[in-house]
Symmetry: C2
Subunit: 390 residues, 2 copies
């Protein structure tokens, strides 16, 4: 049932403890659901109530603290000893008078972990300002440090088994993107195209069932292509308009995202030109990028290609991707942009997403890239061009 | 394109300002995506980066601050004047050296809103501990108050147009639940059942296209029914096992959720009995509940029914529901449980969700209820019983 051998989880926990020691932490409170999953296997749509995995240098095994009714979910999905799975009483849920982090604090105290240096994921989704405040008030003998992305940076380098899941996600993505490109037709309601896409994402392949992607299919169309994050309506696709499809295949919570742009009818020349430039940019990056480059160097390669076409785009053109939960498949570590001097390493996986969003139009073509020992490989195999359905 | 008339948004803003005055606030920073949508219409899958709607007593119109590339999304989806839609530079995104809330603080200062009492949604999703810290540091002349759920409590009473959307969502749910019940068959992979459910949720009806639900279809099966929040795998459904289907129809971000339990084969007597008790509990509550009751009184009605069958269930048996974004369709205001003395009012919509989760089995049957002037009506019409497929 678990996605990885116990040994792989234990190695991740060891790596986390090593970083905790370097960072001067006794205890790390992991609230990012992707990090919770990474360290223990915990999986479930329960992150809408506060929960945490506690890693302590003084304890071999992490402790998983979830809402009481989710305790059996932790039993089913983690490798943890039953004594290390703790459920909090239900009246802590969405109650103005007490906070689940009060309970977490009590539990830490009861295990002798309530003093010393405690790391908090200060900018993680689902770790709220009120949660941090509750901990500060309940644990007066602790000192707190911001350990946001401590585990994320470990997640960035993928193991062979993780790469297997990424490749399985790529197979699912290829199917779903094929369905998506086919579904965008004049007169078809956007919601009906999404129905087919989501069905393909969930069914996956005969061999690999699909998981839910951390972001729903995005398909801004018409004027909507000037911005990347619009979702669908029940309006039909129209001839003379572009649609930017951004979606992922997901397998055991590992994502392979991709973007393609479909034009219905005869596209304006500027779109054709921009499509060519974006493809040239991707292919130049794929041919050049390898371990040893910094993130900003890769962005520079891309920027030079589009500059020749007179296009300036301020936003980052890529980020690390892999294991995740809604609302994001990105890992919040590296970004391909000026100023990011992180050196790329083998077995990173990056969504190279060089979108162009202008005043009233846009184009997006992207690839999920695996950095090998010697170069860069696109994980999914979908025709890489502006798709024109005339 | 907007889901409501401008007048309805303006009335919501007025209500918000009234509560702000009662609460002693000059400015309210709204980061909950549902509240942002409620006040301005803003809609998009951009809540994975920090964003805010600023309501100030000194300003007629709210200000919407989003990531630069999402600015056009705000132009397309809100009624706001262009001057009140502000995009922050892209290098604020996931950057250890600065935080988007630093930018929000600058913008508040530049408009003279950086002093006085500022309300923060301290426990809202997507308003992180680091975001609160950035604001505290950047606005030394402000005082901060926790205004979590200030807007949520306004959202709790639904307008006629909102009830229309809830009813449309109910039509979508009826279709999707029908598909779901049909799809659970021995040998069918869970992921293939989900494919059909998600397709039905997105397509909706010929009249009403579906939106994405804030929670993916939950369908714990077998031992998984002992806990409510497991998602699917690619394992097949098996004869002799129960599956608890919890899913929603969603229309313009308004949800109608429902739960049904399907058993494949001949169910054990305890499950048959528990199913009957849950249905009796729901029907007793539907026949009794009306405006004027408190939340805890409703829970007591339910508890008495199951107590007669010897069942004790600690978790709350319902909560307010409506407009929302992942990860939750609940509104984080009222809960049907001991201690909640909120008096029920007409045009509240409540997910009455009396799940029973025991050591190694469970049953869930639920309804989304509209509180009318005189009573309670289930919004969706799906056969209300343990569904046995023998």
């Amino acid at each position: 049932m678990q996605a990885f051998d116990r040994e792989e989880y234990l190695a991740r926990i060891e790596n986390t403890k090593l970083r905790m020691m370097q960072f001067g932490l006794d205890v790390l409170l992991v609230c990012d659901p992707a990090n919770m999953n990474y360290l223990t296997g915990y999986d479930g749509w329960s992150f809408y109530t506060p929960q945490a995995v506690v890693v302590a240098l003084a304890q071999d095994e992490p402790i998983c603290i979830v809402r009481g009714i989710d305790r059996n979910g932790a039993r089913v999905t983690t490798f943890l000893d039953d004594a290390n799975i703790i459920g909090y009483p239900d009246d802590y849920v969405q109650n103005k008078r007490k906070h689940p982090m009060d309970y977490v604090a009590e539990m830490l105290e009861s295990r002798g972990l309530g003093r010393g240096a405690i790391g908090l994921e200060m900018d993680a989704y689902y770790f709220t300002a009120a949660g941090a405040e509750a901990l500060h008030q309940s644990l007066p003998n602790a000192t707190f440090k911001n350990a946001y992305t401590l585990v994320n940076w470990i997640r960035m380098i993928k193991s062979p088994r993780e790469l297997d899941y990424m490749r399985q996600a790529a197979r699912i993505l290829e199917t779903a993107m094929g369905v998506a490109i086919d579904a965008v037709r004049p007169g078809v309601r956007q919601c009906d195209a999404v129905a087919k896409i989501m069905a393909a994402q969930a069914s996956g392949t005969a061999e690999y069932g699909g998981d839910y992607a951390s972001i729903v299919p995005l398909l801004p169309t018409g004027i909507g292509t000037s911005t990347p994050h619009l979702t669908w309506s029940d309006q039909p696709f129209a001839t003379g308009e572009a649609t930017i499809l951004e979606l992922a295949g997901c397998r055991r919570r590992y994502h392979c995202p991709q973007t393609r742009t479909v034009f219905l009818g005869k596209p304006p020349q500027k779109l054709v030109d921009a499509g060519k430039v974006v493809v040239e940019g991707i292919e130049t990056v794929l041919a050049t990028m390898r371990p040893g480059f910094t993130c900003e160097e890769v962005e520079q390669i891309w920027r030079k290609v589009i500059a020749r076409a007179g296009i300036v785009q301020e936003s980052r053109c890529g980020y690390s991707v892999g294991l995740n939960y809604p609302p994001d498949w990105g890992e919040h570590t590296i970004s391909l942009r000026p100023g990011d001097k992180t050196v790329l390493q083998p077995d990173m996986t990056i969504h190279f997403m060089p979108g162009i969003w202008q005043d009233d139009w846009g184009v997006g073509i992207s690839e999920c890239i695996h950095l090998t020992e010697t170069g860069a490989v696109a994980l999914a195999d979908t025709p890489r061009r502006l798709i024109v359905k005339d």
